[in-house]
């Protein structure tokens, strides 16, 4: 059976703490260094807006299509796009074509890195206190958004009916 989980970010809930970046680097590289994190919190500090950005594991992944060495491919079992470092030539074409800026190049190691969903137990999800980063069934990604939109509709209706009354 195919693994069906995807990473879903709810940026409104992000507090900007970057704990996800810290634990990602510690988990994968055994060091603390956000420059090695697969997930990055992009900030507009002057407005208090923080958006965690990570690989979307695209179905038709531009990184894989653009890779001249065919080093990137989909792993169905793990529900992710992964790098075969035996094939990777370090050209950074994947960095150029990724629409989310989620392919990273680690200058110290001269290699590209991307989210591997921690083999099914993403540490960013595990450590996020506000649940700004979640792992959900692919079919359920829109559930919560729908519920929130419905809530706004409902409260609008309640307000308008109280105006009538």
């Amino acid at each position: 059976m195919h693994n069906n989980k995807v990473l879903k970010t709810d940026y409104n809930k992000c507090t900007g703490c970057r704990l996800c970046e810290l634990v990602c680097a510690v988990k994968h590289d055994h060091v603390s260094n956000p420059a090695r994190s697969r997930i990055r919190v992009i900030k507009w500090e002057a407005e208090g807006i923080y958006v965690p950005m990570s690989c979307q594991q695209c179905e038709d992944a531009p990184c894989a299509i653009g890779c001249p060495a065919k080093a990137l491919s989909r792993n169905m079992e793990m529900a992710r796009v992964e790098v075969d470092y035996n094939k990777c030539i370090g050209c950074r074409a994947c960095v150029s074509v990724c629409p989310f800026g989620a392919m990273h190049f680690v200058a110290a190691d001269r290699k590209v890195i991307k989210c591997d969903l921690c083999d099914g137990d993403p540490q960013c999800v595990r450590f996020c206190d506000t649940k700004a980063v979640n792992l959900v069934d692919a079919g359920d990604v829109s559930l919560q958004k729908g519920r929130e939109a419905a809530k706004r509709l409902r409260s609008a209706e309640t307000k308008s009916s109280s105006l009538v009354a």
């Binding site: 703490c17 704990l19 510690v26 208090g48 450590f127």
Partner: protein, 646 residues
């Protein structure tokens, strides 16, 4: 790894920069952060050094655990001789600066001299550059940070900056980072300004290796769960520190109209729920922000709801601002508190000292000690919101006689104003107290009197003393990591056992200030929070250093002692009202007039207070004058200070 983070000596007069490693023997004795800064201050200044002169040193640091896989190790510490107090200046702030400094290769900066023209430092992966601040001098706290990012073409640069207040040498000017993370107390921004140093910008991408990464990650999860499972931190993560207001004000622990009352009446508009409502209306449901790697997220976000800055994005307010701009001047409007909070953050001045100084001036004005001529025509009465807001800008830019006088700090201002102005100032060692009223809580009174940087709640306050914890719980907390079998009392109005509690918290807070951990992760507010045992394990897993709980405790005792040695060298004497460890007469003479029945009528018993200080001194190994005995110094390995090892 954390242990290869370096110390840089930067001379702004000559432009000379030297970089050295930090020997592990020094780590063993002073660990890092505030502890090591205290050692450096004592070693790199001479007695009587002019705080505003080139020979004063400005120390900027992260803790031993900064940027490791340990929760909330985000604190930046700044130390120098203070121009506000003439004694120890020390301040601590959250945000993202210290971790970035560690990723850039450094734990400690020692800055001396004075630049000829305004400059800022740029520190990038081991390199340090002194750059012209010509284009950023005069800018506000946030404008400065965004301008530096633009100039360096890097939106990830983190800066520690001063605002106009620091440039104008307002004695209590902040150092700041982000929107509102402030190193607020004791005027370290003024010292930066005196050196013509506008900012320190850092950017780092160097690994901090973790000694035992797998275990450190798991231990961090356990550590985090321990903190987030406590009600106090859940509340703080929902509405921030304003939550403290409700309980404290209704009970009668909030000084109002400077120090005339201990409760701000009819102040519904200052309640945490109201502040939270504004955040909800202007930002939305998710309106809490966090410092680096911290799951407590206690910093509120909002946009100003009214006034000349309506619509501007701002953060806070903290509990301190509710008191400083709400209760003390008796201006009971959330919008006023938020406007003042925004202004002091953009100007870069301590919210607490600003509100307290203006409230003190208000009392002097109502008593006729200050005249309307002296206030520049301002009707400086309590409850005059416009006057309060106007005074902040006047002080920042030293606009007239009164503003200029106040900007020089409380004691010089009292001398200049004359009459008995000083008698009304709620201060210790020349620094104002938080808006808390300690007349009903002897432990807290002892804390502010003996705090090393002047009247302050973050050096040794046993805030959990207000929880009426059962005696066995107190016993469990206070007899570790060193044994204690003396008295302990669950009653906050008692004098018994309190000196040990203050001594214990003094060492607890020094320990986290050396490690770089936030105090909201200690027994400051939560009685079930991590402790010496946990820090010992965290240090071991992250750095490989084998520091036992008692080793950390002893290092904290030692670092507190070297802070005391500095103050003694600068003229601290026990009973001196301006430089000592004595409270304003109002604590002993004026009883509390409002609050809970058990509180009304209380004041501090002078004899019992003096006995408490005696007992506190005995625990620290001091004589009756507060001077360490020779055997105490020997025991702590401080008999040869200054030793000039670093």
């Amino acid at each position: 790894m954390a242990l290869n983070r370096k110390i840089a000596y930067i001379d702004l007069t000559t432009g000379e920069i030297k970089v050295k490693p930090i020997p592990v023997e020094i780590r063993n004795k002073f660990i890092g952060g505030r502890g090591l800064d205290a050692y450096l201050l004592y070693n790199h200044t001479r007695q009587g050094v002019d705080p505003l002169g080139p020979d004063n040193v400005l120390l900027i640091s992260g803790g031993l655990l900064t940027a490791t896989c340990a929760s909330a190790t985000t604190r930046t510490h700044v130390m120098a001789k203070s121009a506000l107090t003439g004694m120890l200046g020390s301040t601590n702030m959250g945000g993202f600066f210290a971790p970035e400094l560690a990723w850039a290769g450094f734990h400690h900066l020692v800055i001396r001299g004075k630049a000829e023209k305004p400059v800022y430092l740029f520190i990038h992966n081991g390199e340090i550059e002194i750059r012209s601040a010509k284009n950023i001098w005069g800018k506000s706290v946030t404008e400065t940070q965004w301008a530096i990012r633009e100039e360096l073409h890097d939106p990830e640069v983190k800066s520690l900056v001063i605002g106009p207040a620091g440039e104008n040498l307002v004695r209590w000017a902040n150092v700041m980072t982000g929107i509102k993370n402030s190193g607020g107390r004791s005027g370290m921004g003024c010292i930066m300004g005196s050196k013509n140093l506008k900012a320190v910008a850092v950017r780092g991408t160097m690994d901090v290796t973790i000694a035992h990464p797998v275990e450190a990650l798991e231990y961090n999860k356990r550590f985090i769960d321990q903190i987030t499972s406590s009600k106090v931190n859940q509340t703080m993560g929902t509405i921030g520190t304003p939550f403290i207001w409700g309980a404290t004000n209704s009970w009668g622990g909030v000084r109002t109209r400077n120090f005339q009352f201990n409760q701000c009446e009819y102040s519904d508009d200052l309640e945490p729920e109201r502040i939270d409502e504004i955040a909800l209306e202007t930002v939305g449901e998710n309106h809490m922000a966090a410092c680096f790697a911290c799951q407590v997220h206690c910093r509120g976000k909002h946009r100003l709801p009214s006034g000349p800055y309506k619509g501007r994005y701002s953060e806070g307010p903290e509990y301190t601002s509710q008191g400083a701009f709400g209760a003390e001047p008796d201006c009971k409007h959330a919008d006023t508190v938020l406007t003042c909070n925004y202004l002091v953050n953009e100007y870069g001045m301590d919210t607490l000292e600003t509100g307290s100084m203006i409230s003190w001036a208000m009392e002097l004005f109502e008593l006729g000690i200050l005249t309307k001529e002296q206030t520049g025509g301002i009707d400086l009465r309590f409850g005059n919101d416009e006057a309060l807001i106007e005074m902040i800008t006047r002080i920042c830019y030293r606009k007239d006689w009164l503003a200029d006088t106040l900007a020089d700090g409380g004691i010089p201002a009292a001398e200049k104003i004359g009459k008995n102005a000083f008698d009304y100032m709620v201060q210790v060692k020349g620094m104002h107290n938080l808006h808390s009223d300690e007349r009903g809580t002897p432990a807290l009174a002892l804390n502010i009197a003996t705090a090393s940087r002047g009247s302050d709640h973050l050096r040794s306050r046993p805030a959990i003393d207000l929880y009426h914890l059962p005696e066995p719980v107190l016993r469990k907390i206070y007899s570790s990591p060193v044994p204690y079998d003396g008295p302990l009392s669950s009653e906050q109005t008692d004098y018994e056992g309190k000196p040990w509690q203050v001594f214990w918290h003094e060492n607890c807070y020094m320990a986290v200030d050396m490690l770089g951990i936030c105090k909201y992760h200690t027994m400051f507010l939560g009685a079930t929070h991590p402790n010496f045992e946990d820090w010992s394990r965290v240090v071991q897993l992250n750095t490989g250093l084998d520091f036992s709980p008692t080793h950390i405790w002893e290092a904290a005792v030692r670092a507190n002692m070297i802070e005391r040695l500095f103050n003694l060298r600068e003229g601290m004497t026990r009973y001196d009202l301006k430089k000592g460890e004595m409270l304003n007469h109002r604590y002993f003479d004026e009883p509390l007039r409002r609050g809970a029945p058990g509180v009304v009528g209380r004041k501090i018993d002078k004899k019992k207070f003096i006995k408490m200080v005696d007992e506190f001194y005995a625990y620290k190994g001091l004589d009756e004058n507060g001077v360490p005995k020779p055997e105490t110094l020997k025991k702590l390995g401080l008999e040869n200070e200054p030793s000039h090892l670093l």
